[in-house]
């Protein structure tokens, strides 16, 4: 295998992106109270979420871009999340997200409800370094009425036309699982352009991948447009099956049976704890 000697610029990237041993090493970089963003399935960052639960990280402000399923529910049930900012949390065709529902109803979890394009637009404003983004829709909804941070202004270019302004989102961390990374900090996300936006908006991005490859992914014209540049990536670790039970396209499909089992089991706290013991906590013993 040919290993390219890093050019000076690449060496700079190598200094920027740390290669760590495990998802647990990545989770160790996240302090209590941080703002953490995760994208919708597929490729949910299950391995890092599990590591956050094992570490007992608390009071995270979770942002879902724009919705989430199993991993958000897991983090909520696992006690990591104080506030969730989301356009929706559910297990999709399988049913409600049980720990999310229980935590919102009891008031244990604060919630900032939004709508999908609002989360995207606010992240895009963050990505551009702009203070806010305008968005159509929302006016007259109780979603807007419950978001005092969203403002309605008159379109300065067309009097009488009201429009909503959303403050930019710049998460402290984006956590992502992807198919592959190279040794220069570049992470390939395929057609998931919103994962690039998420990494661009976040102050730091932590990524697990199915595999770390030796070739420079920037040399492949088909790959190059679909990379998160190492400039944004604080640290990478390999985590095989790191999205399970979510799908990692090209590697493994969605494990529907597992999520059905989770949805049934996590209806009670006791059942959820059993799930943690069976699927999340054992990684500690393996260390």
């Amino acid at each position: 295998m040919l290993i390219l000697d890093p050019t000076p610029i690449e060496a700079h990237f190598l200094r920027m992106t740390q290669y760590l041993n495990s998802a647990d090493d990545l989770a160790a970089l996240i302090p209590d109270g941080a703002q953490v963003a995760i994208a919708k399935p597929p490729l949910s960052p299950t391995a890092i979420a599990g590591a956050m639960i094992r570490r007992g990280i608390k009071d995270i402000h979770l942002i879902t871009s724009p919705t989430q399923a199993y991993v958000a529910d897991l983090l909520i049930g696992g006690g990591c999340i104080g506030l969730v900012e989301t356009s929706g949390v559910s297990l999709g065709e399988i049913g409600p997200a049980p720990r999310f529902v229980a935590a919102v109803k009891s008031g244990a979890l604060s919630i900032k409800d939004s709508t999908c394009p609002a989360v995207y637009a606010a992240l895009q404003a963050g990505e551009k370094g702009q203070p806010f983004a305008p968005l159509r829709g929302l006016i007259g909804s109780e979603v807007l009425a419950n978001r005092p941070d969203y403002k309605v202004i008159e379109n300065p270019f067309e009097p009488g036309d009201d429009i909503v302004l959303l403050p930019a989102i710049r998460p402290d961390f984006a956590i992502i699982h992807a198919a592959k990374a190279d040794r220069f900090g570049n992470v390939w996300v395929g057609g998931r352009h919103e994962l690039k936006s998420l990494a661009h908006a976040a102050k730091q991005t932590l990524i697990t991948v199915e595999e770390i490859v030796d070739e420079d992914l920037r040399l492949d014209e088909a790959c190059a447009p679909n990379l998160i540049s190492g400039l944004y990536v604080r640290a990478v670790a390999e985590a095989k099956q790191g999205a399970w039970p979510d799908a990692a396209p090209g590697h493994y499909p969605f494990d529907e049976d597992a999520v059905i089992a989770y949805g049934a089991q996590a209806r009670t706290e006791e059942g959820f704890d059993t799930w943690l013991n069976d699927h999340i906590l054992p990684a500690v013993a393996a260390e």
Binding site: P117, A118, I139, S141, E142, V143
Partner: protein, 242 residues
């Protein structure tokens, strides 16, 4: 001919509201509307974008781009549902009781807070026709059915299709009108199970049954295509594996 399944009847009923829609988009948890969109596109031509599909014909950027297309008016029809839908077509996807610590909590708005305003023909769809689903007034307005003058609102509710019947929505009046009753449903049954007042013609017709050509298409090409994004539905209704 074997007996027509309710799902097949609903697919053709929804498709009948999708005339003149060159681009139909389909969101999450919408296998019946998704199948209807495919059927409409097979009949009249046009593009269907299904969020989460990896089928080349239906694949789309289900992230930012779909919403950008809606913002520009490039999407003609979309589907929404609600835990509650009221007589003014306000939809509630958040829950029952006082927000935020509600007695019953649902998933959240998803894209509705935007798409309901911008997509010209939004078809509302719900498989449970009951007074708890169709109250006079929703507990929480996730997205309003109609807007005040001056609010940018090229889109909004076009029809409401349930397991019992189909309504169209009159935007000027802000009211539903009963268009047809599905085979086996009585008017009384609809009235007993609807919590809001609605208009209706003197004689309410039966929803047209699917034609043999429709059924062939639904059971073959459409069942195969829908199995990608909706494996559970395809297995249960058509006996198809993803």
């Amino acid at each position: 001919m074997t007996e027509v399944k309710l799902e097949e009847r609903l697919i053709t009923c929804i498709a009948s509201y999708l005339d003149d829609c060159p681009h139909i988009a389909v969101g999450v948890i919408s296998p019946i509307p998704g199948s209807a969109a495919m059927l409409a596109a097979e009949r009249q031509g046009g593009k269907v974008s299904i969020i989460g599909s990896d089928h080349p014909k239906y694949r789309c950027d289900g992230g930012v781009e779909l919403f950008d297309q809606a913002g520009q008016g490039r999407i003609n029809a979309f589907f929404l549902s609600g835990g509650q839908i009221d007589g003014q077509a306000n939809i509630n996807l958040h829950g029952v009781g006082d927000y935020p610590e509600m007695k019953v909590r649902w998933s959240g708005a998803f894209g509705s807070g935007y798409l309901y305003f911008l997509v010209p023909k939004v078809i509302l769809f719900r498989l449970e026709h009951s007074r708890r689903v169709f109250p006079e007034k929703v507990d929480f307005i996730s997205s309003p059915g109609v807007s005040e003058p001056g609010v940018h609102r090229p889109g909004g509710p076009h029809a409401l299709v349930t397991n019992l019947c189909a309504f169209s929505f009159d935007k000027a009046k802000g009211r539903f009108r009963l268009d047809s009753l599905h085979k086996g449903t009585t008017l009384e049954e609809v009235q007993d199970n609807t919590g809001f007042a609605f208009d209706m013609p003197e004689h309410v017709p039966q929803t047209p049954e699917p034609t043999d050509a429709d059924l062939t298409l639904i059971q073959s090409d459409i069942a195969d295509a829908i199995a990608g994004p909706y494996p559970k539905f395809a297995r249960q209704v058509f006996g198809k594996a993803a």
